[in-house]
Symmetry: C2
Subunit: 678 residues, 2 copies
């Protein structure tokens, strides 16, 4: 029997592991333990446990006629302790069995041939448990009379002392070291190779790198990676605050508690999120979201305000400051949860509501604050500050009108206001703020490097202003500031491009000769004053976005597109489009984008309209209490553990703040100290 | 008069600054001070000072009928001290006037039209001076009756205490964080998102970033950047150990002293260089080279052994260990200096000479050692370890025969042997070793990502073995290890590619659909054992270089080429070639490279056969004495100052080791302590 299993596994590995498609990420065998093998936990962090047994009906893994084992059992053992059933260990009633069916393609050939593999599943889920004692736990799933899948979990050491009163976590979405280098070149002047001024990030005392890969694929998306940063648990593309299971329900996947859920439960601190994206977008929403699909925007705003409705779970009572775009999920209508008016829902919970910069700046500091400044994402820094006419072309009024949102705050105004509110409301309990420069990523996706770098510079300017703000509030020394990213894009600058020369050349190959490499890259002209050009955007931005000699840059992963280098003045870019009469999933060069540029055919699947995320480790900059823990190279989940340790979130009991705001160690039901359920 | 000058400068700036071509980098005005404005110096570091006055005969800068001012004067002032002539300050005789003419193109239009601008020059050079007192020095060049060019120089603080006995400086040429991330993916296994083993680099306690740009262009080459790392002075593309002047002589440019010149002069330590490139290549040779042209290979090997012949300058007495490729400069013939046999030249200076791995391993530890293992660069790790048959195709016998070099050491064997020799010979005086993984860069240039990453993994394996070696010698604690790069390439991984599916598709667009992005990137198959595949290359390398699902990666800066992803088994890649009958400077897709791949047209000038360097900051990993000084973000020149400070090279006197090996503070002529000449 044993050898049969081994042979079967070997065959299965050869045909499907590491593949384009997976039956279920984290589950190469037919028995799935979620959280799976090799996961780490914060002591006291709440989570769900799901077991699945898969019986593929057809395909290379077909087994047992497609009938899953409904009598599977599961055990847990701490270090060398007693092996106990899951229900016994966590003092829970045995949950009822669930069953479902799903299908998948084993590879691209199967997809082309439309021959899916169908899998029947038997499953159980144990909800809202926690492990309090540091150590190693071995979880074993026994199924199909002799098969086993094991998972080793490590509960990290207790760190229940709060070392930082406040944490501000800046995320440059998609931001890499390469982009930071390019942004510095645009905004800061060199004389003979010496920068005369530097980025705020360049002055951070501690630098680290974090690995961004998913739990089950080496390229991540922003949902999954934000979730890893906020919870210490990696997940699957599009998932947040859960380990993705194979069930059809997007909201029943096994959950993990996030940093703001922990912080509110344990210390009763204030928390906020600020983003230049729509607020239901992955990076801001992952602070409170528990779903396998980031696209469930309406329900996720409901979760942010009121917590989960379907399961008992930690409530954050809603953010204390919540500023960004995305009016679609707040206006009553198809984009909002159950069609409700979320401006009213927030107002009913005593929020101030700001729909423009003027209102934001005037909002009271002592009241919870919602600010929604447009539909969709905020227009980027270049539109808000340089090409302002483009703003008028938009129909993005946050109140739902047909007009444009024009009285727009930037990341800096939103962040500084959030700090005022959070500092006031958090008081002695401190606060956690996440502030996201979202369009670094969004503009890299569409190969609009200038717009991406503009928003990167806005982030840097905001970091600088935040340090000054914290200083003026007298809380700089007690605030940990971390600036990092969630993933990269394969961007780099490789020379200059003489836009005047390129424009004068008749054919595509000659246009490419406008690019100057090595010694011909010359110096940055973005920092050279030019007569008649004055943006007045301050010291941390270029003095000229449209010089004759621009940066020549590329992404490595492209759709078909045209390239002319230099800034697009009419608004963000659409590099590739569909062709009328052809498939909507078949992208070609957009004839209206950079019409005088040269054609570059893509390196990506022809159904990709944009560039895609990349593998690279991303930088972590830290200053303040615990800064020394952020040096070196580590996983993105470690960013969570470092922050959690600094905030004293690792507890050996179910520590919960009572309604009076005083903390109460262990008010939940829990067992002999190994594990707890409540 | 003044306003005329200002107008003239403004016009000049508008037309030519930041341009594809420059009249002379570091000299936007008509008066040039070399070293120019904003340069830093180590106290006691020797250097030359050149002044040039330019008189353009024609073009947008035409001035004074093309007649340069031969009566220019120059002064120097420390802080608020007395302003003195250069000759007086450094106690030198006034040098004689030099004159020459050069021409350049103001832009690409001028180049196409073949209308160069011609410049007449008057110049003086003050050789072999030093500044001993920390502080700010203002150098002023007065010319054309009223024009001035000033340079502010900063002499950094004294640091004359030796904190590390030894320094080992590993350079991954062209290595970026993105490449390190990709190499980790290939060689180290994850289970559910947790790496089961890590790179040696991942375990370094301190991480920094260094900015690599040139003094006069934002993209560097390896000569210039190596020179910055070794001397603390940025330079111009192709230049090493000098500030590039405009004279025709490649060897008369104003020099700066390098780390090994300082170390030998001050402490009498041993030093060595190891590279997988030819030894006259930029990164190894820049330790001793002083030239504006990295291509003067023969003379540079002569400089490495015997120092400069044309000017009085610090001698290193030749390296104690010198291992790499490049027999062309050692075999008597057209590649060597004056046609001499440099095997004999080195042997005459009592070197052991090794021409293969067997001889290298047997070479005595107490004798100076030269090892030259092939002509040109060493074949890469993939050829030496996996595709060994390809070695036989080469005609690279280091003894000059027609056959192939087959008994080849790798970076690890060369580095460990060098440590043995340097530790033995350095004794109490310690040693400095530079060890370069050269073909990370060379293979990135030809878009051969697998070969580049193989050599990166060889570097990491060598770092790991070095740490173990130092431990076994009992000198780990007294040795600073720094691992960094000299510049980047815009490389990143953006997904997987199903090579089986791609091969089965008939047209270029369909082949691209083999690429899996985000969740479809799946897991690394390079770490999955496959039946029949066993390389036996150890824990720090992939178990399978040729899985069905490979990484999909790109460079951002490409020549025209064909892409099929996956490893090239027949040897390194030639992505673009010329077409018979067309210009030799006009590159097209190479029809024999990846013949079944899809065509990707380039983003670079059509005279580029390869990818090019990029802007990105590169990582610095440090461990050992002074490791804490390597955190954060800084310039590449700061790497020199950090190493120099750790080695106690900053002195307020002309500290020089006497022949008996004892040090002697200040044996040269020098003046009142402000500056010295000898």
């Amino acid at each position: 029997m044993r050898s049969t299993v081994v042979l079967c596994l070997a065959a299965s590995l050869a045909s499907v592991s590491g593949q384009t498609f997976q039956r279920l990420g984290t589950c190469p065998t037919l028995g799935c333990v979620l959280p799976p093998d090799q996961q780490d936990f914060l002591p006291g962090q709440q989570f769900d446990i799901r077991f699945e047994v898969h019986a593929p009906k057809n395909g290379s893994e077909a087994f047992n006629g497609g009938v899953p084992d409904e009598k599977f059992t599961a055990t847990i053992q701490k270090d060398n302790g007693r092996t106990r059933s899951i229900a016994d260990f966590f003092n829970l009633k045995e949950p009822s069995l669930e069953k479902w069916t799903f299908s998948w393609y084993e590879d691209l050939f199967a997809q082309d041939a439309k021959t899916p593999s169908v899998v029947n599943v038997a499953s159980k889920i144990y909800r809202r448990v926690a492990l309090y004692e540091p150590g190693t736990y071995k979880v074993t799933l026994n199924y199909f009379s002799g098969k086993t899948t094991t998972a080793e979990w490590v509960v990290r050491p207790i760190a229940n002392k709060k070392k930082a009163k406040n944490v501000i976590f800046f995320i440059g979405d998609g931001m890499t070291t390469n982009m930071i280098t390019a942004a510095r070149l645009l905004a800061h002047k060199t004389i003979n190779g010496k920068y005369q001024t530097l980025l705020a990030l360049d002055k951070f005392p501690v630098l680290g790198h974090q690995m961004t890969h998913s739990i089950d694929s080496f390229i991540t998306d922003s949902a999954n990676s934000a979730s890893a940063l906020y919870s210490g648990h990696k997940s699957t593309v599009n998932a947040m605050g859960v380990y993705a299971d194979s069930s059809p329900d997007l909201f029943d996947d096994p959950k993990v508690e996030t940093v703001v859920e922990l912080l509110v439960r344990i210390w009763g601190s204030a928390w906020g999120a600020v983003s230049t994206a729509f607020l239901a977008d992955a990076t801001p929403i992952a602070l409170t979201a528990h779903t396998r699909s980031r696209y469930a925007y309406g329900p996720l705003i409901e979760q942010a305000l009121n917590g989960l409705g379907n399961y008992s779970w930690t409530k954050t009572n809603g953010p204390d400051a919540y500023f960004g775009g995305g009016a679609e999920q707040f206006l009553a209508g198809s984009g909002s949860y159950l069609g409700k008016d979320y401006y009213a829902e927030f107002a009913n919970k005593n929020y101030s509501i700001s729909l423009n910069k003027t209102a934001l700046l005037a909002a009271p500091k002592d009241k919870r604050a919602l600010g929604v400044f447009c539909r969709s994402n905020l227009p980027v820094w270049l539109e808000r500050n340089i090409f302002k006419d483009n703003l008028q072309k938009l129909s993005n009024d946050p109140a739902g009108g047909k007009g444009a949102a024009t009285d727009l705050p930037g990341l800096k105004e939103m962040t500084l206001k959030a700090i005022d509110v959070l500092h006031t409301r958090g008081g002695n309990k401190g606060f956690f703020l996440m502030s996201e420069a979202a369009s670094i990523d969004k503009q890299m996706h569409v190969l609009d490097y200038d717009r991406a770098l503009g928003d990167l510079l806005e982030l840097d300017d905001t970091v600088q202003a935040t340090i000054e703000k914290l200083k003026s509030l007298g809380i700089l020394d007690e605030t940990l500031i971390v600036v990092s990213a969630d993933h990269g894009h394969g961007f780099d600058v490789f020379g200059n491009a003489d836009t005047k020369y390129a424009a004068a050349q008749g054919d595509d190959r000659k246009k490419r000769n406008a690019v100057g490499v090595y010694q011909n890259s010359g110096l940055s002209q973005y920092t050279v004053p030019q007569e008649g050009v004055s943006y007045g955007t301050g010291a941390n931005f270029p003095v000229n976005w449209d010089p004759r000699y621009v940066i020549a840059a590329g992404l490595g992963a492209n759709p078909d597109h045209r390239e002319s280098y230099g800034v697009g003045k009419s608004g963000p870019r659409v590099p590739a489009t569909t062709i009328p009469g052809k498939s909507s999933d078949d992208l070609y060069v957009n004839p209206t984008d950079r019409p005088n540029g040269f054609v570059v055919n893509g390196t990506l699947p022809t159904n990709e309209a944009q560039g895609v995320h990349s593998l690279t480790d991303v930088p972590v900059f830290a200053t303040g209490p615990c800064q020394e823990t952020f040096g070196g190279v580590y996983s993105n989940i470690d960013v969570f553990y470092k922050i959690a340790n600094c905030l004293g979130l690792a507890h050996g009991t179910n520590k919960t703040v009572c309604d009076d705001g005083k903390s109460n160690g262990g008010n939940g039901k829990y067992n002999d100290g190994h594990g707890g359920h409540y």
